[in-house]
Symmetry: C2
Subunit: 136 residues, 2 copies
């Protein structure tokens, strides 16, 4: 059994979720891509064909188990990625290049958590836009 597959199985086991074909395939696709992608991109990246609805429901169950979360970019469709590079309070920043359009996960960039009087801040998400190393 490939390393990716056993990784995916372990994630599902640890989360107490049924270990189904669809969940394994989606997790493996997200592991391979390692960036936020849409339902459509996930569907295309899968080895086996699955119904759109199944992908959405899979993402939903993985989301409730905190294995996956949504990323909101300047595009119509939601993007999804694995949560394993994020802390509970802070997802890593996402950078989108205004030139080439690519989005990069800046997993090594740690920004200080904001404070504001009277507010309890539980989570912080940062979106950056500009020029990527290739395009500047």
């Amino acid at each position: 059994m490939k390393a990716l597959e056993s990784h995916a199985k372990n994630m599902l086991k640890a989360a107490g979720l049924y270990c189904t074909r669809a969940r394994l395939c989606v997790i493996m696709a997200l592991l391979r891509e390692n960036r936020p992608i849409t339902q459509e991109q996930i569907t295309q990246a899968l080895d086996a064909p699955f119904d759109r609805v199944t992908i959405y429901r899979t993402l939903d169950s993985l989301g409730k188990a905190d294995l996956v979360h949504r990323v909101f970019l300047e595009e119509r469709a939601c993007h999804y990625e694995l949560s394993h590079h994020c802390s509970k309070t802070q997802c890593h920043p996402h950078f989108t290049c205004t030139q080439c359009g690519q989005t990069h996960c800046l997993t090594d960039l740690k920004l200080p958590l904001a404070h504001h009087h009277g507010y309890v801040i539980q989570r912080q998400q940062v979106r950056l836009a500009g020029l990527c190393p290739q395009c500047r």
Copy 2:
């Protein structure tokens, strides 16, 4: 003529845009609300009835003139707000309460602009989630 209306007219004049009923109404609605709202909320907040498409096209033209910009929250629909509380490089942070669901503009909270080697960062947007003063 009311202060809101002349404010709206000045914004359109300064931007070199036609001063139309729809644009005036939309800007005045956004001035009154003073928080990010959806096309549907804008339409409901208007005195006169306008077609959905007109609202979208109005937001588009105001957006191109940098009078308005989109705000992405954890909801399906895009939200829109006036840009007058934002600098070119950084929009003020938006806080959404996980309890009551309300979104607040933290216009007085200034976060340092991120730096990352090799990247030219032109714009930064921050979304915060947690408990608002009423709900904590």
